[in-house]
């Protein structure tokens, strides 16, 4: 029983980090109908910038999360300006996807050249403080992860629902042309979406750092699951993504417990392929016609 409960905690921690990463993918898909493969590398670079902020500049761990957030935001702006904005006029849906695969391969191997293949020991000072409860334990680090994720998701939700920019953003993702006619500048909102999405990914990287083995390829293992999550949840749908992210986190922790860590990707992607075959619109379907 305690094992089951313990794995719920582990799953929720992992799941909330996956949600942060996957939300970025789903937000970008919402406004652009594009997948950003290099999103993975924003996660990795977020983790590395937090690591070097702590170990190089002597900063604190909580502050390093903010640094990773800022680094992610800057990367998002850069990627939109360099790749997505110039390719948008061409109207080919595969070209930007292929370009981001290129960017991702380039960034990962450039990081490999700079940081080397040996994993970095990214220790959070909060990992040593353990709270025990009913036979289970949870580290302060994990409490922080859950708290920051919940707060961020709540803020994002409030932003989307109640602010003018958030409403404009949703308008653009529903119908870009009509939104343009209403005086909304779609290009600026697309950029805003990229900045938000990448900032979330960078922040997730800083919190994943102590959980993952920090290498230049750390983001890749997360991003393939994030792809699975956005499809299981329904591409472009925020609620579905949150649900699917937590689900995948739980599946991962139970798979590790009962089947072994080697089976994680197999179980997650088998679920993905089953979803694609049975219900390709995802758990919560967005009203789109082009997807499937």
């Amino acid at each position: 029983m305690t094992i089951v409960l313990q794995q719920v905690i582990n799953g929720v921690v992992l799941g909330s980090l996956y949600v942060l990463v996957a939300l970025g993918l789903t937000l970008v898909y919402g406004v652009l109908v594009q997948i950003n493969f290099a999103h993975a590398d924003v996660v990795t670079l977020g983790a590395f910038s937090a690591y070097f902020f702590i170990h190089g500049a002597g900063g604190g761990y909580v502050a390093s999360i903010a640094v990773a957030f800022a680094v992610g935001a800057a990367l998002g702006w850069l990627m939109n300006a360099a790749i997505f904005a110039p390719l948008r006029e061409r109207g080919n849906e595969l070209l930007p996807l292929i370009a981001t695969i290129g960017v991702s391969v380039m960034l990962e191997n450039a990081m490999l050249a700079v940081f080397g293949p040996i994993p970095y020991a990214f220790d959070s000072p909060l990992s040593n403080d353990v709270i025990r409860f009913a036979g289970t334990f949870i580290t302060l680090q994990n409490v922080l992860i859950i708290a920051v994720s919940v707060a961020t998701i709540a803020l994002l939700y409030a932003f989307m629902k109640f602010t003018f920019l958030g409403k404009a953003l949703r308008a653009v993702s529903q119908d870009r042309e009509t939104a343009g006619l209403m005086g909304i500048d779609p290009d600026r909102l697309v950029m805003l979406t990229f900045v938000i999405a990448s900032a979330l990914a960078g922040m997730a990287g800083a919190m994943l750092g102590p959980v993952l083995v920090l290498t230049p390829f750390a983001g890749t293992s997360v991003i393939v699951k994030a792809f699975a999550i956005v499809i299981i949840g329904g591409f472009g749908n925020v609620e579905g993504t949150i649900l699917a992210g937590l689900m995948v986190g739980l599946i991962e922790s139970y798979t590790t417990q009962y089947l072994g860590p080697g089976m994680i990707d197999i179980v997650v992607f088998a679920l993905l392929l089953v979803m694609l075959a049975v219900r390709p619109t995802g758990l919560i379907a967005e009203k789109r016609e082009e997807n499937v």
Binding site: L94, V224, F235, P280
Partner: protein, 337 residues
């Protein structure tokens, strides 16, 4: 173009036959020019990559389906043939045929998803397929020996033609002739398919599936066909890879390999068959020529992929057409494909 072959000017047909002949001559001469092991090894890698690239181009460039699972079909071909040979003692060429059929069948299974999915969804589904295949190769240790790998895989058996000395494939020049010959054969086969009405059906699906359906083209059936053919070619490349390298580890078929093959197709020019051939050769040899960049090989691939998409989406093939059109304005670029 394609089904109008008979109506094409005789000059174009002659040009195509001359190009084929030139390729045969080039393949025959290359190992004689490059006699050391290092360059002959590179030549064989080039030939294997050419097969992988044209196989993917058939699916991506012609049928317009972004398949990120090419590394999986490559790996399935390699492991299927090797396991048949080493575990069951099946003769090489029978194992080869079985592995090609197996990889093709796997492609057909994936295409069953492609029938319902488009664009990004297919990209992620095929990526998922590649991830699952890699993890299965890594974790099914009783079958594949997982990360420890399979060692001492024999090269293809020597060919004994009557009246001639046996042609052994431990000799790298002979192995190159075998692999390059198969690459050329695959090219000729795909070229014929593309120039037949099948090619037109595939490009029609690529351009607009609904309009294609209105013309009576069964999109689902042709996608299944394209995936089957493209992945069978990758499976054949996998058989040669295993026999050439002599060692199999799952890491050779990680999803990065799919991205590498994608880079070859895009840099060469998707939607032309000759482009990816040059793309594969260029991206295989470039890191070797620029010595000392070792670790940066994939940085070059990534940069090339991004820059080509941004500035020359038709790749080398488009660049070559532009140059030729400028040099000989009287000939229509269309005929130079």
């Amino acid at each position: 173009m394609s089904s109008l072959d008979a109506a094409q000017p005789a000059r174009v047909l002659v040009t195509r036959r001359l190009a084929f002949l030139a390729a045969v001559v080039a393949i025959a001469l290359l190992p004689l020019v490059f006699t050391d092991t290092y360059w002959r090894t590179n030549l064989i890698v080039c030939a294997i990559n050419v097969m992988l690239a044209i196989g993917l181009d058939f699916v991506l460039g012609y049928a317009g389906q972004l398949n990120l699972g090419q590394s999986a079909f490559y790996g399935l071909g390699a492991y299927a043939s090797t396991l048949l040979i080493m575990r069951l003692g099946v003769p090489f060429w029978i194992a080869f045929a079985a592995a090609v059929a197996f990889a093709g069948a796997a492609g057909i299974v994936l295409s069953l998803f492609a029938m319902r999915l488009r664009g990004h969804y297919l990209a992620v589904a095929s990526l998922g397929f590649a991830v699952i295949t890699y993890q299965v190769l890594l974790n099914w240790i009783s079958l594949t020996q997982g990360p420890l790998g399979i060692y001492a895989i024999p090269p293809p058996p020597a060919l004994a033609l009557p009246g001639l000395p046996a042609i052994g494939f431990r000799n790298l020049a002979n192995l190159f002739y075998l692999v390059a010959g198969c690459a050329l054969l695959s090219y000729a086969l795909l070229d014929q398919l593309i120039r037949s009405p099948i090619g037109e059906a595939l490009t029609a699906i690529r351009e607009d599936e609904v309009s294609a359906a209105a013309l009576g083209i069964n999109g689902a059936a042709w996608k299944v066909f394209a995936f089957g053919v493209g992945s069978a070619v990758a499976g054949a490349a996998g058989c040669f890879y295993a026999a050439f390298v002599g060692t199999l580890v799952p890491d050779a078929f990680f999803i990065t390999e799919s991205f590498t093959i994608l880079a070859m197709v895009v840099v060469g020019g998707m939607g032309t068959l000759i482009g990816p051939v040059w793309g594969a050769i260029l991206l295989t040899l470039l890191p070797e020529v620029l010595r000392g960049i070792g670790d940066l090989r994939l940085v070059v691939y990534g940069a090339a992929l991004t820059l080509v998409v941004l500035f020359m989406p038709g790749g080398i093939a488009q660049a070559a057409r532009l140059v030729l059109a400028r040099l000989r304005p009287e000939r229509q670029p269309e005929l130079l494909r």
